[in-house]
């Protein structure tokens, strides 16, 4: 046994020294990607574009380079192949270092892909161990996905992170929503709930996130405008910090802005005598007045009460519009089906085949909104300009 000890010691030492590079990949030997774009060609092949940044140029402070402000900080490489992974691998004939997927901040899906079905396109992204499930996903509208990630921004040298930031701002606008890759996979795999992805367009020198795409299974079936998305978000109880424009109780022509402080939604399922499901959504909103363009004294209870009613109506209208739109294109993004599945699995089993096409478009949804105005801001009354 003693004789073997030097040998085993040597083995251990060699294990440490010789396997030093197994699986290792130094940070200086990777191409850092910040955004993916997946487009579909006419012939059904995928064009995958990857935005690769140059770290030294992209560093926020500018670093030692000094005045190299105009230096291009990123490069978009694209490649067209039958599958996404093949396209990504094919890029390596033009990119020196292996592309590092984990750092991608956003995945932009072309409209063509959305219409043909996103399932195949994101399969690789879900399967690969290097991609991050927290990456945000958006659908390009009007332009190709590649054009979106080629956009250069004045304010940031990392376009992927910039686009991600604008999507995250949706919490304040309520006009689109934030969906992670993981959530895409979850929605696609959930019975009775469909996928809804934010859309992204080009607007002058920048990109713009507004509205959403609704899916049936993994195919695009319709579009929601800004207010319909807001209604959808209210109906699902997504945390919002948006503002709502309502008519002033005293003068219908004047507008007031209400800022949402807190909002919750409760979905209830009831059954009619014929055994049809009926939904009711209870929404509770706490809000502050943030802008007023007439000069009524807001301390009056009646004024506030009326304002609350106007607000209720506005939110309810948004929600109803959103439900109508979705019902018309058979996409159950609200998860009514999932609720039925939860409460009455037997009923769901019988109807799941025809849920989207026959039952869902015709169900009744009652919406009840209860707004409470908490504060009126720092001034009670608008300035009386003289």
């Amino acid at each position: 046994v003693i004789k073997k000890i030097p040998l085993s010691l040597l083995t251990i030492v060699m294990l440490f020294i010789l396997t030093g590079c197994f699986g290792a990949k130094d940070l200086r030997e990777v191409s850092i990607s910040t955004a993916f774009a997946i487009d579909r060609e006419q012939d059904g092949r995928y064009t995958v574009s990857v935005q690769i940044i140059k770290p030294s140029a992209a560093q926020a402070s500018g670093g030692k380079g000094g005045g190299g402000g105009d230096e291009k900080s990123f490069l978009v490489v694209s490649n067209t192949e039958d599958t996404v992974f093949a396209a990504l691998r094919g890029m390596l004939d033009r990119v020196k270092d292996k592309i590092f997927y984990s750092s991608a901040q956003v995945i932009v899906i072309g409209e063509g892909v959305a219409k043909a079905g996103v399932g195949d396109a994101i399969d690789f992204l879900l399967r690969d161990h290097e991609t991050q499930y927290r990456t945000l996903v958006a659908v390009a509208k009007g332009v190709t996905a590649k054009e979106i990630i080629e956009q250069k921004f004045e304010l940031s040298k990392v376009p992927g992170a910039y686009i991600q930031g604008t999507i995250k701002n949706s919490i304040s606008t309520g006009f689109t929503q934030e969906v992670m890759l993981l959530e895409v996979a979850r929605e696609l795999a959930t019975q009775g709930r469909d996928l809804c992805l934010p859309t992204i367009t080009k607007s002058g020198d920048t990109t713009k996130t507004a509205g959403s795409v609704v899916f049936l299974e993994d195919k695009q079936v319709g579009l929601l405008d800004n207010y319909e998305v807001r209604g959808f978000l209210f109906a699902t109880g997504e945390k919002l910090n948006t503002i709502i424009e309502v008519e002033s109780p005293t003068d219908a022509k004047k507008k007031m802005n209400i800022e949402i402080h807190q909002n919750t939604a409760k979905k209830k399922l009831e059954w009619t005598e014929e055994g049809k499901p009926v939904f009711s959504i209870d929404i509770k909103v706490k809000a502050n007045i943030s802008e007023q363009s007439d000069s009524t004294d807001m301390e009056e209870d009646e004024f506030i009460k009326k304002l609350e009613q106007n607000c209720n109506k506005k939110i309810k209208d948004d929600i109803m519009a959103s439900i109508k739109k979705c019902q018309s294109c058979n996409s159950d993004i609200f998860g009514f089906g999932a609720k039925v599945f939860d409460k009455n699995p037997n009923y769901w089993k019988d109807t799941k085949e025809k849920w989207n096409n026959e039952i869902y478009p015709n169900i009744d949804v009652k919406v009840d909104v209860d707004t409470k105005i908490l504060r009126t801001g720092l001034v009670k009354k608008s300035l009386n300009i003289q």
Binding site: L27, R28, I32, A58, Q59, G63, S102
Partner: protein, 523 residues
């Protein structure tokens, strides 16, 4: 371990039989009756020792011949002449009823420290220890008179352990001064100081200090046993003793406490520990030494308990940073880029661009540079030390970064982990080694490697015992009661008992709690 034992036997062979036999003979040799024989014998022993001197005098009316032998400079000349030689020469009473020896002892010599010797070797040892020895013609007895000259160095604040609040005194090289410093703090007859001599050539005085009834008897016995087993020719510092009495021959973690501060040692004695002081070293050893003591500092107890707790946590964090930071950085940049936050990754990638070495080699290079600078800083004369720090900071740090040989983050990381390793002085040496070992593990297997090594290190630590006490007490085995003084510090009035793992079970009450009663507070 068997292989290590073999290894140690092979390389550290000792042949001590002859020495021991010789020693035995010397101790048995009596002091010759005739003074001439004594002189001849000692002159033979001290041949070519020019600092050895003999003063011959006569005593009383009988003209008894006496000889005082001592080592020049080692003894205090004034004390010797005033308290020993002068009374002998001036003595003229002649009491024939008692012997010369008794007269000398009882009526003449006015020095306070005096002892009768009968063995020649003992008397030689006494001379070598700075005493004057008085030989009497016609008697087999000799007197040892303690007239050792006081040490030059004063009691001052030790450089190694600086305190801001609390006592500033430190131990010196003089054993007697050191025991007095302790005795002054613990005025109790149960505070025992046992003296022994170690080292066949150096014959160093070593004392074992403990408080009877507070320290466990088993531990005291074990210390005595281990010290008596030391067979060596020289004990030049307590560091020698430390290596002999350690539980583990090849220990890499500190298993014996070192301190230069009397207040710290006194506190440890009061917890039931045993201290070992050797003549000639200002560093005092305390056993058993537990891992938790590496983060304990006297000031934790003198000041605000909440800040003590904060400092303890800070020290633990520093310990962690010192060992894991470079390894963690290498693991992240080489294997797990995925878990680095995006913005940080861009910064790191930007810094890494164009660096010709992998981050492992870079880190290893910078750590070695840091250690070289540290070593140079200690060994260099103070005046040149300044130059080293300038060269280190500017040339090696800044220039390496701007030349693109090392990246800026690695300089920060090496410097930070290096500084952190200074926070726990007892662990500084092992920290340095572990940092490099962890780095290699991180390079080989990433976080997996770090994890495996962590398991190995913790298993090793959990397995250790010092003088029968598990090394990681109170964490493992968990002693809830002793946690009051671990990573937290409770106020001093709340430290109700001495450590369970160390102190004698019969005497564990330290305080009765806060003395202010409710009524007092109301007033």
């Amino acid at each position: 371990m068997s292989m290590l034992d073999k290894f140690s036997k092979k390389f550290f062979v000792k042949s001590k039989k002859n020495d021991q036999e010789q020693n035995q003979e010397n101790i048995e040799e009596k002091i010759p009756k005739a003074l001439a024989d004594v002189k001849q014998r000692l002159k033979q022993e001290f041949e070519l020792c020019d600092d050895f001197s003999i003063r011959e005098i006569e005593f009383g009316k009988q003209k008894a011949k006496l000889a005082i032998m001592f080592i020049e400079g080692f003894t205090d000349k004034h004390v010797l002449s005033q308290n020993v030689i002068e009374p002998i020469i001036q003595y003229c009473d002649d009491n024939k009823e008692i012997t010369v020896v008794e007269q000398l002892e009882k009526n003449v010599i006015s020095a306070s420290d005096i002892a009768k010797l009968s063995s020649l070797q003992e008397s030689i040892d006494a001379i070598l220890d700075g005493n004057a020895v008085l030989y009497i013609d016609g008697s087999e007895k000799a007197f040892k008179v303690g007239v050792r000259a006081p040490e030059k160095r004063a009691v001052e604040q030790p450089d190694t352990e600086v305190s801001i609040k609390g006592p500033r005194e430190g131990f010196t090289e003089n054993l007697k001064t050191n025991t007095i410093l302790l005795r002054r703090k613990i005025k109790n007859t149960r505070f025992k100081i046992e003296e022994i001599k170690l080292g066949e050539q150096t014959k160093t005085n070593v004392v074992i200090c403990y408080i009877q009834g507070v320290a466990k008897d088993e531990i005291i016995d074990e210390v005595r046993k281990r010290l008596s087993k030391i067979k060596t020719d020289a004990i030049l510092a307590t560091g020698y003793i430390e290596q002999y009495i350690q539980d583990d021959k090849f220990s890499v973690f500190p298993m014996v406490g070192n301190s230069e501060k009397p207040d710290k040692v006194a506190a440890k004695l009061l917890e039931g520990r045993v201290a070992i002081i050797a003549d000639g070293t200002p560093t005092v050893l305390t056993v058993p030494f537990l891992f938790v003591e590496t983060i304990q500092v006297p000031e934790d107890y003198f000041g605000e308990y909440y800040f003590g707790t904060f400092s303890r946590l800070l020290r633990l964090l520093a310990l962690f940073i010192a060992i894991y930071l470079p390894a963690g950085y290498v693991a992240l940049t080489m294997f797990h880029q995925k878990i680095i936050p995006f913005n940080l990754m861009i910064t790191m990638a930007a810094a890494r661009q164009g660096i010709p070495f992998s981050s492992f080699l870079e880190a290893l290079f910078m750590i070695i540079v840091f250690e070289i600078l540290r070593e140079a800083g200690i060994r260099m004369p103070r005046a040149i030390g300044q130059a080293v720090s300038i060269v280190g900071a500017i040339v090696l740090g800044d220039a390496a970064v701007s030349a693109g040989i090392a990246s800026a983050p690695i300089v920060i990381i090496t410097a930070l982990s290096g500084i952190c390793s200074f926070i726990n002085p007892p662990l500084m040496k092992i920290n340095t080694i572990l940092r490099i070992v962890y780095l290699i593990a991180a390079n080989a297997l990433g976080i997996l490697g770090i994890t495996i090594l962590t398991i190995v290190v913790f298993t090793y630590l959990c397995n250790k015992r010092v003088f029968g006490v598990p090394y990681l007490t109170p964490f493992s085995p968990l002693t809830t009661e002793d946690l009051k003084d671990s990573f937290i510090v409770v106020p001093i009035w709340a430290m109700l008992s001495r450590p369970k793992a160390i102190a004698n079970d019969n005497n564990r009450v330290r305080t009765k709690g806060k003395s202010l009663s409710k009524e007092d507070e109301d007033l």
